[in-house]
Amino acid sequence: MKTYRDIDGDGGSDILGQVVAQRGRIAANLSGVKRLVGVGSGKGGVGKSTLTTLLALELTRRGRECAILDADLNGPSQAQLAGVPSAPPVPGELGLLMPRGRGGFGVVSLGSLLPPREAFSLPSVAEGDSYVWRATREFTLLGELLAGVEWGRLDVLLIDLPPGAERAVQYAEALGPQLRFVLATIPSDLARGVVARSVDALKRTPNPLLGYVENMSGYYCHGCNAVRPLFASAPGREHRDPIGLERLGSLPFDPVLAEQCDRGLAGSPGGPVGLAVAEIAEKLLARLDESAPAGAVAAGAEEVR
């Protein structure tokens, strides 16, 4: 009797062909995007989204065409961070028109599409069992966004990832090896330990890891114009649990910046944070140049069976 692998196709639906076609649409639509960079972390609350926005601001300041895709569908924050005005999705000639934040870069985030404080819901005929299908549906939506937004020509498309070591790997597999990663942590052994697990998981993928950023490395006091310790550990000290990845830089916590984030950032912050972001962006661009040339997203669809 024949087995599964003795048979070609699925009897008429060509599900595999449809998946391949969808990946083809994504690749075609991202053909003008030079680099895909995912900003992630195994740990939540370490400042991934703020780091993503700051990087976009700095890259834009340096003349790079940049945009952000907010992949945190359930906790979208990029619209507010970047100061994207609330607006309905507007179809352009080729796809969804990309809103722009106050800093001038494009931002695609459900945060600018959903009413404030409204959770993102997806219709279902299997009510009460969303754990079975929700992640799959979210990746389908991610694919729809990548294939259906007018991204145009971009030097870097930053993808603000939801937290979770396993989530980062899922994005690596979904978007293929063109997706490079920057990880964020804070200087606590607890957070570093979780991020180290992310590194371990991602190192099993072919996706390049560009480095990590230590966020909240200190507290910037505007009164005395100095960075004070925020955690017991000093920035960059030897930790008990090394992350196993190059540190791109350290960002101090700036309460004024935090307030600005609530209103939407319009430009690179000054002070120690601005200097640190510039240093991180410099290293990031260098790492990107060192890694293989970018191209369209082209995951291994032939392996889907």
Binding site: G11, Q18, P88, V90, G95, L96, V125, R134
Partner: protein, 157 residues
């Protein structure tokens, strides 16, 4: 998933689809050699998982073929059932009329519908509602490419 006619050792082909009905669809497969048929009956969880992949059971092809496949695809029907008929419409497969009525009494031209069809399906209904509100607020009774361009300028896109 693949189906094999054990007696003929031959792959069975999709014959027809039925449903959706309360979260369940029926997929009938037939053996091309002996003609024997079997039906796969999905439960709501299976229906939801497949529809979450964003694929069309029954196959997809050209625009017309896609429209035909969509019309016979139970999972597409299920999405219509879930999201409301307007959500799952296929703008590119509309009849060649110059305009058609929409929910808010605002008409969409074929060209505007085509543009709507190019954006991600999940947010298509948000776009339709938002653009129709923009049109009504600005005194338009139909949405055409010019209105879309005006919306683009109005929202600074």
């Amino acid at each position: 998933m693949r189906f094999l006619c054990v007696d003929c050792d031959e792959q069975m082909k999709l014959y027809e689809t039925r449903g959706p009905d309360r979260g369940s669809v029926s997929l009938v497969y037939a053996c091309p050699v002996c003609g024997r048929k079997v039906a796969m009956l999905t439960n709501p969880h299976e229906t939801q998982v497949v529809s979450s992949l964003g694929v069309t059971i029954g196959g997809a092809g050209s625009a017309d073929e896609t429209a035909q496949a969509a019309s016979r695809c139970p999972f597409t029907g299920m999405l219509k059932e879930m999201e409301g008929a307007a959500d799952a419409e296929q703008p590119s497969a509309e009849p060649a009329a110059s305009a058609r009525p929409a929910r808010a009494g605002v008409y969409w031209t074929r060209e505007a519908q085509d543009r709507l069809g190019n954006i991600p399906p999940t947010i298509r209904d948000m776009a339709r509602s938002g653009i129709e509100k923009f049109a009504v607020d600005h005194g338009y009774d139909r949405v055409d490419v010019e209105v879309l361009e005006r919306a683009r300028g109005f929202f600074g896109l």
